[in-house]
């Protein structure tokens, strides 16, 4: 059975490590915050200038001056600090944020990522996505395997790129792919399948070439 959105987030949470500073994108990635293992210290970076973003406030305790990058009301933690936007992106660009988990429209087998515009549709802007994928050393994509029945894991992205060769791992409802060196180039390796998902199903729903890891039958 394919993973639910929460199960995808829980799988992504296994990429967290004690002491990590992590940026979560909008959508499924936001759910990852619910699956930080007990006893692990992880600080969430919100690119509008908050390090150590806490959970949503209790009703009646919302503060208009405490929001995350999705413009949602959040709360402070004992570890929280605030910075201006330039310092916030110095953390990103300088490689100080350990992990970025975000959504995607398309990912290519060489690690290219497209998630900010669809030509012909109204362009809303890239926000901080281009800075995050360029600056954070490990980028994990959490996305549906297909969109409208069409593969999103492609040989090459057809949409304008957010970053070139930036993705480290892709988690979909069907399984997990790692992006890494294969011989003298970069390629995808399928490393995990969701329960009862067959390799044939993944092959049918994936345009990209991929190797099959040793744990996959």
């Amino acid at each position: 059975m394919p993973w639910t959105r929460d199960q995808m987030a829980a799988r992504a949470a296994r990429e967290l490590q004690d002491g990590f500073y992590v940026n979560l994108g909008i959508g499924i990635p936001t759910l990852v915050a619910n699956y930080v293992p007990e006893g692990m210290s992880v600080q969430f970076h919100s690119e509008n200038g908050m390090l150590g973003a806490g959970p949503f406030p209790f009703e009646g305790e919302e503060d208009a001056d405490i929001i995350n990058a999705g413009k949602q009301t959040v709360t402070e933690l004992p570890t929280t600090s605030y910075v201006d936007s330039a310092a916030s992106f110095a953390m990103v660009r300088g490689g100080h944020i350990n992990l970025s988990i975000l959504g995607a429209l398309q990912v290519a087998q060489n690690g290219d990522l497209a998630n900010w515009m669809i030509p012909g549709k109204m362009v809303k802007g890239m926000g901080g996505a281009m800075d995050l994928v360029a600056g954070v050393p490990r980028v994990v994509v959490l996305m549906e395997h297909t969109a409208g029945g069409k593969p999103k894991l492609l040989k090459a992205c057809t949409l304008p790129l957010t970053g070139a060769g930036v993705v480290s791992m892709v988690i979909t409802e069907l399984g997990v792919f790692e992006v890494g060196p294969q011989g003298n180039k970069v390629g995808l390796t399928l490393t995990e399948l969701a329960p009862d998902v067959l390799l044939e199903e993944i092959r049918a729903k994936t345009e990209a070439d991929f190797a099959v890891g040793p744990k996959i039958r």
Binding site: F58, I66, T73, S85, A86, G163
Partner: protein, 235 residues
Amino acid sequence: MAVNKVFPDAKSALAGVLKDGMTIMAGGFGVCGIPSALIAAVRESGVKNLTCISNNAGIDTAGLGLLLETRQIKKMISSYVGENATFAKQYLAGELEIEFNPQGTLAERIRAGGAGIPAFYTATGAGTQIAEGKETKVFDGRTYVMERGLVADLAIIHAWKADPEGNLVYRKTARNFNPIMATAAKMTVVEVEDLVAPGTFDPDHIITPGIFVRRIVKLDHVEKLIEQRTVRKRT
């Protein structure tokens, strides 16, 4: 006579400053930490053909959305404008120009502009359409894109508290682009929620020193908006 930076209201704080075709930086992220009273005064003035540098374009009923409604803005330099229907309509009709900058690049362009740095290199956007037409250079095996520092004729910003010297502190995530914009304009006007007596601030805690602030207006009343009110249940 000693310099007086404190003005009685937003209109007088902007008197003699506004000109058609000028470039204005406006602080804020979404509708958090936006200079609402100063934006209202710009709208009131009727000044037009503005280029506005701001992370977002406000919403239909607040922030720079108010200047879009009156068609005072010719061009926006922003990273994300998704929450504004007026913006979308004018853009699709070809009445509004937009230059998208990655958010961190926008912030660094402003920081650099304020620090007298004409250009810098960043890996952000390398290999994407953002890099098209820009100089690139390889450092240590990685490709970087040259981005220009950004300055403006006027910065309008929001801070929590000021003293009469123009030393500023901000409140929580309402800080965002405000401190860097304060440094990057020929004229910076700040609206504040509270004006405190000289010496009130611990000098170690001042975020923006008064050198960057020319005019101050204390708000009579402060209305803060929330774009996405998200809460959790008590268990």
